[in-house]
Amino acid sequence: MTALGALIQRDIRIALRVGGGALIGVLFFLSVVALMPFAVGPDLKLLARLGPAILWLGALLASLLTLDRLFMADHEDGSLDLIVMSRNSLELACGAKALAHWIAAGLPLIVATPVLGLLLNLDTPSTAAVALTLLAGTPALTFTGMIGAALAVTLHRGGLLLAVLVLPLSIPVLIFGVAASKAAITGPQTFGAPFAILCALSLFSFVVGPFAAAASLRQGLD
């Protein structure tokens, strides 16, 4: 097995086992979205209009929830030292870790979306559209969030600092994710334009995220 494949497999395994964070994100997502109809009240039209925004906000917060452990856990047990010293490029290793985090924590959110669409009175095409935008947009959240996770290791601060650093970076993703979902559901704008920008944001973060995270980790060697 290749080195990066081994890293991805290890991180997914740890996330899925007892004490791993994979299910925490989905449970958080489920509870936030399930509570929303109770807070907004039994107005079906309003719920359908707010639906995409609620799903996106839930997904954004859920993906932040476990992100601060991305490098911190490896830093605390010394694995990060060995990863930095290894013969693999640190940039690729960072990318592999982010990919594993997305598979373990991001993908389940998308799988859970159809169930939650029912609670928010979204019809099938609308739910499919939201799920598609989440599929295109959540990788951008993980890969930009990784920069914050690396900085949290460098600065020896976790938790809240990550949210403060990462949330501004995720605003464009939120704007275009919700815009694309709304366009698919109510029109009159076209779905294509915001969705293409959303995909572009993800592709952009694939390139910038690993380099920025690796540079931050090198800077923070201690």
Partner: protein
């Protein structure tokens, strides 16, 4: 193969840990770094491993593989074991085998050599401190690296474990390896001593 440092100065948190430090180690030899707590033994090892940047001076390796950096040819065994409690003993070891790459040996044989073959399927969370150390030693055996940087390698090891470790080091030196070990106690093997903290 020769590892040498010249005029090394290390500053951590605004405090000078050591300055003007020079050392030399050759293939087949052990350099034992000794000194009081806080004299900079761990800092020196991390400096050699490339995990700290020296404020002054440089570390050089002659006669290693030209295409690889010093860190890429070295094992670093630190205070922290780099083990994941959720994974089994075997999974931990084979992950590092796959990830670190290079010339590798059978992970099962290494576990047997350090006396952990009976616990291969046990989650690492249930290992004792000494067993965790043994599992870290198995990593040194499974993945071949010519330079071993060891920080308190015998800590938590029982008498049998220390004897085992001494024989592992002898095997490594016989293959032309090089060892730099920070230690308080005896290593159980002949070594040149580098005393820290006596320079200022």
């Amino acid at each position: 193969m020769r590892l040498s440092g010249r005029g090394l100065k290390c500053v951590r948190g605004g405090r000078e840990v050591f300055a003007g430090l020079s050392f030399e180690a050759a293939a087949g030899g052990v350099l034992a770094v000794t000194g009081a707590n806080g004299s900079g033994k761990t800092s020196l090892l991390r400096l050699i491993a490339g995990l700290l940047i020296p404020a002054e001076g440089e570390v050089a390796l002659e006669g290693g593989e030209a295409e690889l950096t010093l860190a890429e040819q070295a094992h670093y065994l630190g205070h922290r074991d780099a083990l994941k409690p959720a994974l089994s003993v075997m999974e931990n070891l084979s992950f590092w085998q796959d990830f670190l790459g290079g010339e590798a040996f059978d992970a099962g044989d290494s576990l047997e050599a350090v006396g952990l073959d009976h616990a291969a399927q046990l989650p690492a969370a249930y290992l004792s401190a000494g067993q965790r150390r043994r599992l870290s030693l198995a990593r040194l055996l499974t993945v071949r690296r010519p330079i071993w940087l060891l920080d308190e390698p015998t800590a938590a090891l029982d008498a049998a474990g220390q004897a085992l470790f001494a024989s592992l080091m002898r095997g490594h030196l016989a293959r032309g390896g090089l060892i730099v070990a920070a230690t308080h106690g005896p290593l159980g093997i002949e070594a040149r001593e580098l005393k820290m903290g006596g320079m200022s």
